[in-house]
C-alpha cells in the first residue's frame, strides 16, 4: 500500500471522552481525521464483540476511551472497560493481530487537549505498524 | 516384638535411637548409593531411603534399600502414596520384605508441583494414614487391603509415620499424630526441629494424650550448612519453622565458620531435646552432608550404637 491511512475506531463514553472530543473541537485542536468516534453511554458498555467486529471489518486500530480513574459516572465502567481491553489484547495476539492496535485510555471531560493528543499518538502508532494483517491480506 | 526390625529392637530396648537418611541418585549407579550409605555405617540404627523425594525422579527407594541392605546396614523404606495406587504399593511391600526389608515409613509425599514432573498425575488412591492402616493389616491380619488373605509369608513391617509439629493448624497436629498411631504407626519421625519451644508445646499435647507411650517419637534434626540454607528453609520450605534468631546467629559468623556453627546449633538442639519427655531418639537429616552425621552422633554422645 503506497499511502496508508489507518482507520481507527474510538469508543468514547458520553460523560468524559466524548465530551473531551467536543472540547477538542471547540478549542480547534487539530488531530488526524483517521479517528472515528462511536459514542457509548459508558466505556463499560463496550462489548468484546464490538471490539472484535471492528477489527474483523477492517479497523487498523481501536481504542476505548473512558473517564479518569474513580470518576466514572457509573462508578466503575472504566475499570471494567480496561479489563475487557486487556482480555481482548490477549485474544488479538492469539489471532495474530498486534495487541498494540487496541488501547484503553482515560480522560476527563475537560481534557480536550488529551483527546487530541491520544488521537494523534494512536494514529501515528498504527501508521508505523502498518495496515492490520486482515486488511493487508485483502489488498 | 512385632517385627525383626533393628530399629524396633533398639527402641524397645530403651535406647535413644538414631536414624538418618540417604537419597538415591538421579541415575542408575549402585555405587553412588553405596558410597553415600558408607558414611552412615555403624553410626545409625536405620537408614531412611527416600521415595522420589520432593517429587523428583530418583532410583526407586526399594532398589536403594536393597543396595543398603547388601552393605549389611538396616534400610528404612520410605513409601509415598503420590506415585502408586494400592495395588502397586502392596506389591512393593511384599517384594521389599522378600528382599529383607522390615522397616518402613508411610508418607503422602510432596506435591508433584514441586518436582521435575509437574505434569504427572498425583495418584493418592489412599492417603498416608490409610497406608499405615494397610501395612498394619498386612502384618497383623495377614490380609491385603482389598480383604483377600496373603498367601504364605506375611510382610512384617515395623511401621513409621511422619509428623510435622510446625504446620498449621497447630491444635490439629497432636490429633493427627493420634490418628496415625491409631492407624498403626509404631514410630514417628518428625519434621526438622529448629523452634524448640513450639516442639515442646507440641510434645506437651502429645503427653497429655499419652501418645508418647503408644509409639516412639524420633525428633528430626537438620544441621544447617550456611546462612543461605537457613534462609531457604525458613522462607521456601512449606511447613518448616526456622526462628529468626537462628538465621541471625548463622549470619553473625564468618562464612567459613558457618558450617561449624550449624553443627553447634544442631548439637545444642539435641541436648535440649534429650530432656524432653517422650523423645525416643533422633532422625538426622543431613541433606547432602551425610559425611557429618558421624561427627554429630559422636559429639552428641550417642556413639557407639547399641548392638541388639
Amino acid at each position: 500500500m503506497e499511502h496508508f491511512e489507518p482507520v481507527i475506531v474510538a469508543f468514547c463514553c458520553h460523560y468524559c471522552a466524548y465530551t473531551a472530543a467536543d472540547m477538542a473541537g471547540s478549542q480547534r485542536l487539530v488531530y488526524p481525521a483517521n479517528v472515528k468516534i462511536i459514542r457509548v453511554p459508558c466505556s463499560g458498555k463496550v462489548d468484546s464483540l464490538h471490539i472484535a467486529k471492528a477489527f474483523e471489518k477492517g479497523a487498523d486500530g481501536v481504542y476505548v476511551a473512558g473517564c479518569l480513574d474513580g470518576d466514572c459516572h457509573f462508578k466503575n465502567g472504566n475499570d471494567k472497560a480496561a479489563r475487557k481491553v486487556a482480555h481482548m489484547r490477549g485474544y488479538l495476539e492469539e489471532i495474530g493481530i498486534e495487541p498494540e492496535r487496541l488501547e484503553m485510555v482515560k480522560m476527563s471531560a475537560g481534557m480536550g487537549e488529551r483527546f487530541a493528543r491520544v488521537a494523534t499518538e494512536m494514529t501515528e502508532k498504527i501508521r508505523k505498524l502498518g495496515p492490520s494483517p486482515i486488511k493487508a491480506a485483502a489488498a | 516384638m512385632k517385627t525383626q526390625s533393628n530399629l524396633e529392637k533398639v527402641l524397645s530396648g530403651g535406647h535413644l535411637a538414631v536414624t538418618s537418611e540417604c537419597g538415591p541418585p538421579r541415575g542408575a549407579s549402585a555405587q553412588t548409593v553405596v558410597d553415600k550409605a558408607k558414611y552412615l555405617e555403624g553410626v545409625v540404627d536405620a537408614v531412611n531411603i527416600t521415595d522420589n523425594q520432593t517429587a523428583v525422579v530418583r532410583m526407586s527407594s526399594l532398589a536403594g534399600s536393597v543396595l543398603v541392605k547388601q552393605q549389611g546396614m538396616n534400610p528404612l523404606l520410605q513409601m509415598v502414596t503420590r506415585d502408586r495406587n494400592r495395588l502397586a504399593m502392596q506389591a512393593d511391600i511384599l517384594g521389599a520384605y522378600a528382599l529383607g526389608i522390615d522397616t518402613m515409613l508411610c508418607l503422602s509425599g510432596d506435591h508433584t508441583k514441586f518436582g521435575d514432573h509437574a505434569m504427572a498425575a498425583n495418584v493418592h488412591d489412599i492417603d498416608s494414614i490409610q497406608l499405615i492402616q494397610m501395612v498394619k493389616g498386612m502384618r497383623d491380619e495377614g490380609k491385603f487391603q482389598g480383604g483377600a488373605e496373603i498367601k504364605g509369608v506375611v510382610p512384617k513391617m515395623y511401621i513409621g509415620a511422619a509428623a510435622n509439629p510446625f504446620a498449621d493448624p497447630f491444635e490439629l497436629r497432636v490429633m493427627r499424630l493420634a490418628k496415625k498411631i491409631a492407624a498403626g504407626a509404631d514410630f514417628i519421625q518428625t519434621q526438622c526441629i529448629f523452634n524448640i519451644e513450639k516442639f515442646e508445646k507440641w510434645m506437651e499435647g502429645v503427653r497429655k494424650m499419652g501418645l508418647h507411650e503408644k509409639c516412639y517419637i524420633l525428633a528430626g534434626i537438620t544441621p544447617m550448612k550456611s546462612v543461605g540454607a537457613a534462609k531457604y528453609m525458613k522462607n521456601r520450605v512449606p511447613g518448616m519453622d526456622v526462628p529468626q534468631e537462628l538465621v541471625d546467629r548463622m549470619s553473625g559468623v564468618a562464612k567459613e565458620d558457618q558450617p561449624a556453627e550449624g553443627i553447634k546449633i544442631c548439637l545444642e538442639t539435641m541436648e535440649r531435646l534429650k530432656e524432653v519427655e517422650g523423645v525416643a531418639g533422633f532422625h538426622i537429616m543431613a541433606i547432602d552432608w551425610e559425611e557429618k552425621v558421624e561427627e554429630i552422633v559422636k559429639q552428641a554422645g550417642l556413639y557407639p550404637r547399641p548392638q541388639v
Binding site: E94, I134 | I129, A167, P169, P238
Partner: protein, 222 residues
C-alpha cells in the same frame, strides 16, 4: 455446574482447517454461566476465526447458533434443519454436549472449542472454583461440608499434610488448605470429635473407577 474455558485458537483452527462451512454452536447452560460458550462467546470466537482466515487471505462461512442445552437429545434435534448447511460442527459446550452432537449426527465431524474443566461454582464475579469431583460417594457429611477430594491437592482424607501453613496449601498461596477449612468448620460446629475417626481407604468405583457411570430412575426410565 460444569465449567469450561475456550481452547487456544490455533487448536480450534487446526480442527476446522479442512472445512469451508462451520456451524459454531453455543450452549445456554453451564458454559454460558461461566462465560465460556454462550451466545456472546460464540460471536467473539466466530469473529476471531474469521479474522484468522482473513489474515491469510482466506475466508470461511460460519453459522452461529446457540442451543438451550447441548447435552439433551431433544434440544439437539433443533439442529436437524440446519445441520447440513455446515461441513463440520464446532461446539462450545462441555464434553457432554460435544458427545451428544457426535452421537446424533453420525456423519458430521464435531469438534470441541472449549476445554471442559471442572464442577464448581463462582466465588465472585468472573471467578469460578472447583468444588466437586463427582466421586459418587459424598463424604461432605463428615467433613464439615468442605470436600477434601476436590479441594485438597493430595485428596487427603484424614487431615492436613505437613505443608499446610496459615491456612494455605503447600502448592501455592492462591490455594486454601482444604483441611484447614474443614477443621475450622468442625470447630465452629462443635464437631471436632469427628476428626479423630479414621476415614478408611475410599472405594473409587463409585467415582468412575469401574467405567462410565449411569443413573437409572426405574420409576421414570422406560
Amino acid at each position: 455446574m460444569i465449567t469450561a474455558e475456550r481452547k487456544p485458537l490455533d487448536e480450534i483452527l487446526s480442527y476446522i482447517k479442512p472445512f469451508k462451512r462451520i456451524l459454531l454452536l453455543g450452549c445456554n447452560e453451564c458454559v454460558t454461566v461461566c462465560a465460556a460458550g454462550g451466545r456472546k462467546e460464540v460471536g467473539v470466537l466466530a469473529s476471531g476465526i474469521q479474522m484468522s482466515m482473513l489474515k491469510n487471505g482466506a475466508s470461511i462461512e460460519i453459522r452461529e447458533h446457540t442451543l438451550e442445552r447441548q447435552c439433551d437429545p431433544e434440544y439437539v434435534e433443533e439442529l436437524v434443519p440446519i445441520i447440513d448447511s455446515a461441513d463440520a460442527v464446532l461446539s462450545m459446550a462441555c464434553g457432554c454436549g460435544v458427545q451428544q452432537l457426535a452421537t446424533r449426527f453420525k456423519d458430521k465431524p464435531v469438534f470441541p472449542a472449549v476445554n471442559t474443566k471442572f464442577m464448581g461454582g463462582s466465588d465472585r464475579h468472573g471467578v469460578w472454583t472447583e468444588r466437586c469431583q463427582g466421586c459418587g460417594d459424598c463424604l461432605l457429611g463428615v467433613t464439615g461440608g468442605i470436600c477434601p477430594i476436590a479441594k485438597c491437592a493430595k485428596q487427603l482424607m484424614n487431615g492436613p499434610c505437613g505443608g499446610s501453613v496459615s491456612g494455605v496449601c503447600e502448592i501455592g498461596d492462591e490455594v486454601e488448605c482444604a483441611w484447614h477449612l474443614i477443621w475450622e468448620r468442625l470447630k465452629a460446629l462443635g464437631l471436632t470429635d469427628q476428626y479423630l475417626e479414621i476415614m478408611p481407604a475410599k472405594d473409587w468405583r463409585a467415582g468412575g473407577g469401574s467405567g462410565p457411570r449411569k443413573i437409572v430412575r426405574e420409576d421414570l426410565a422406560e
